[in-house]
């Protein structure tokens, strides 16, 4: 199974019934696969007139009660940003799959990169939270796609699945979990009557309001303006403060359950490699080679990159004397690692941004005692 | 017998744009000093509802008076 195809399978198994998109390399297989499979399960696929329209249609479908997804790559991801922010503000569940290619601009459409790490965090304007998952295998693509849909529904937020060309186009053996082992999350529904319903009234401790679909009898107003619990605009500082804080807290509160990662060979390790996405494949090879050479190296592969798993990185990295962050950009996530380590431990970047998958040798070269 | 009516103006909604006054065939509406419309000549209302139809602020209601009373 191909990485892009695994994303579709994961999303469908999580209950996705709507896809809107615009063709762009190297993500187009996702659209093609949804176009073939959605009608078979009674779902809807539409190819919109542009990237922005696709994002808008996805949010519209989400409000109409569907689990909705779009997929794109760098240039399209740039275009979608305004509406990703809108989805965050109105709390519309949706998933955006970005199969990264080398940029900036049109860049290298058929080559891998991880240059959108910061864009996935800060691409849309304003001070918003972000939930971003990064698969480093085809199996991950399936599982994290499933998880992304679940989290979008559960937290009522856009979730970004950040792939790269290598993982998107990779085919490898995947053993899928049994369907009955997969727990599907659905957005919360209101308990009271339509007359007393207030769309952003937080009744539960989880800080997440229920979202009834259009047509179910619950009539309410939704706006990208700052709004109070009634859904209507308000610019009162206490209202705007409360809303923005809640948007962050509803994710922060569950942060620890959101950190997905893998570790290898941490025991007695005095050096650490941190990586994610396709780079993590090279990092794993580098780690294996280093171990074979007798070096005490550990490996941390991050699957959740935003919110940045600060606690995990601290816990795993605090006692090391060299940390190497391997990524396919000029140094994006490394800034977070440096911030967390606060100059106590040297952090080195193994970086590559020329459209070629970073090699194990490049990562090995940043470890101490290799030669 | 010609129809008659009582005109009610919701002062909270009226913005005094005078559109109602223009379309009133009997010219019974006028702008008050405080920028709201008022009914200057209630006796002459013929309950044609032009003001209701034309008011962009939905601030006017006309009650038809039962002539038989």
């Amino acid at each position: 199974m191909q990485g892009n195809e695994a994303c579709v399978e994961g999303a469908l198994d999580a209950g996705v019934t709507f896809y809107a998109g615009y063709p762009i390399t190297p993500s187009s297989e996702i659209a093609e696969d949804f176009a073939a499979k959605l009608p078979r399960v009674g779902g809807k696929f539409i190819q919109m007139e542009d990237e922005i329209a696709s994002m808008a249609a996805v949010v519209g479908a989400s409000l109409a009660g569907e689990k909705a997804v779009t997929a794109t790559s760098g240039p399209g991801f740039s275009l979608k940003q305004e509406i990703i922010g809108f989805a965050g503000m109105i709390e519309a569940p949706c998933v955006v799959m970005n199969v990264q290619r080398a940029g900036p601009s049109t860049g290298l459409p058929t080559s891998p990169a991880q240059g959108d790490v910061m864009q996935a965090r800060w691409g849309t304007h304003g001070d918003h939270p972000a939930l971003v998952l990064c698969p480093s295998s085809v199996a991950d693509a399936y599982l994290l796609s499933f998880q992304a849909v679940n989290w979008a529904e559960r937290f009522r937020t856009p979730v970004i699945l950040l792939l790269d060309e290598t993982i998107g186009h990779l085919r490898e053996r995947v053993i899928l979990p049994r369907k009955d082992e997969m727990v599907i999350a659905n957005r919360k529904q209101p308990q009271g009557s339509p007359e007393s319903f207030q769309p952003y009234d937080i009744l539960d401790e989880d800080l997440i309001p229920p979202l009834p679909p259009y047509g179910s009898g619950f009539r309410f107003h939704t706006t990208g303006l700052y709004h109070d619990e009634t859904g209507f605009p308000s610019n009162r500082p206490e209202v705007t403060h409360r809303l923005l804080e809640r948007l962050h807290q509803k994710i922060d509160k569950y942060k620890e359950t959101l950190f997905l990662y893998e570790t290898y060979g941490l025991r007695q390790a005095n050096q650490l490699i941190i990586s994610y996405g396709a780079s993590a494949r090279s990092a794993k090879a580098a780690w294996r080679i280093a171990r074979e050479k007798g070096l005490l190296v550990g490996l941390l592969i991050l699957k959740t990159i935003w919110p940045f798993p600060e606690e995990i990185v601290t816990q795993v990295g605090h006692d090391k004397n060299n940390i190497v962050v391997a990524e396919m950009n000029r140094g994006q996530l490394i800034g977070e690692v440096e911030r967390v380590m606060d100059k106590r431990i040297p952090v080195r970047g193994a970086q590559r941004a020329d459209g070629v998958l970073i090699t194990p040798e490049q990562i090995l070269a940043k470890l101490e005692g290799v030669n | 017998m010609p129809k008659k009516g009582n005109v009610y103006i919701n002062e909270n909604w009226c913005k005094g744009c005078e559109i109602c006054a223009t379309f009133c065939p009997k010219k019974i509406l006028g702008l008050r000093g405080d920028g709201k419309m008022e009914v200057m000549d209630p006796e002459n209302c013929i309950a044609c509802n032009q003001c209701v139809l034309r008011c962009p602020d939905y601030a006017i209601k006309v009650e038809v008076i039962d002539n038989n009373e």
Binding site: T110, T166, L170, E172, R281, T359 | -
Partner: protein, 191 residues
């Protein structure tokens, strides 16, 4: 089999990426080995140089890119020029007879794949399946019947017979491969 890297290259549109996908599928379906298939392509849908890469291994495959192929197929001059450089010194190379190659150390076969496909099957469309069968027979990755099963599930309806013939031709070429072998550097020097 330890990590074994395969690169199938030719012109875009020759279907080599599909051949790579089929090979990977057959490995997943009928062996316990790990496999990875990747592709690289230019912006052209037809023409240009195109390659499909497959890695087969008994162990987990971490780094997913082909580094130094153990096996290279090049159906066109452009593909050969672009993709032969990092072939392992003693890796196997199979090229179409119309490709001019430099003398090298590893086993090298110059096979009239395209010509024979055209002559025997009346079309070059299935040159990818011929090449795939040739590779499979040579390395005995999966049994012929198993490969056929995967191929027939992937090809367009109505082309089954043609593809079966293509598989047979590929196997025949593999069985007679020695007749296409050219001398290595060392053999040349010995003479």
């Amino acid at each position: 089999m330890a990590r074994y890297e395969i690169r199938l290259s030719g012109a875009g549109g020759q279907g080599l990426i599909l051949a790579g996908i089929i090979l990977a599928e057959a490995v997943v379906k009928f062996t316990d080995k790990e496999v990875i298939q990747t592709q690289s392509y230019g912006p052209e849908a037809r023409g240009g140089a195109s390659k499909a890469e497959v890695i087969i291994s008994d162990e987990e495959i971490d780094y997913p890119q082909v580094n130094k192929p153990d096996f290279l197929l090049a159906l066109t001059q452009e593909a050969y020029n672009k993709y032969n450089r990092d072939l392992k010194e003693y890796g196997i190379m199979v090229v179409d007879e119309r490709v001019d190659i430099a003398m090298r150390g590893g086993p090298t076969y110059v096979v009239p794949i395209q010509k024979l496909t055209q002559e025997k099957l009346g079309t070059r469309m299935v040159v990818n399946v011929v090449s795939l069968a040739l590779f499979n027979k040579l390395h005995e990755v999966v049994e012929s019947e198993k490969l056929k099963e995967v191929v027939l599930a992937r090809v367009p309806k109505g082309t089954e017979e043609l593809n079966e013939k293509a598989l047979a031709l590929g196997e025949e070429l593999a069985s007679n491969l020695n007749q296409y072998k050219i001398k290595t550097k060392e053999e040349e020097e010995e003479e």
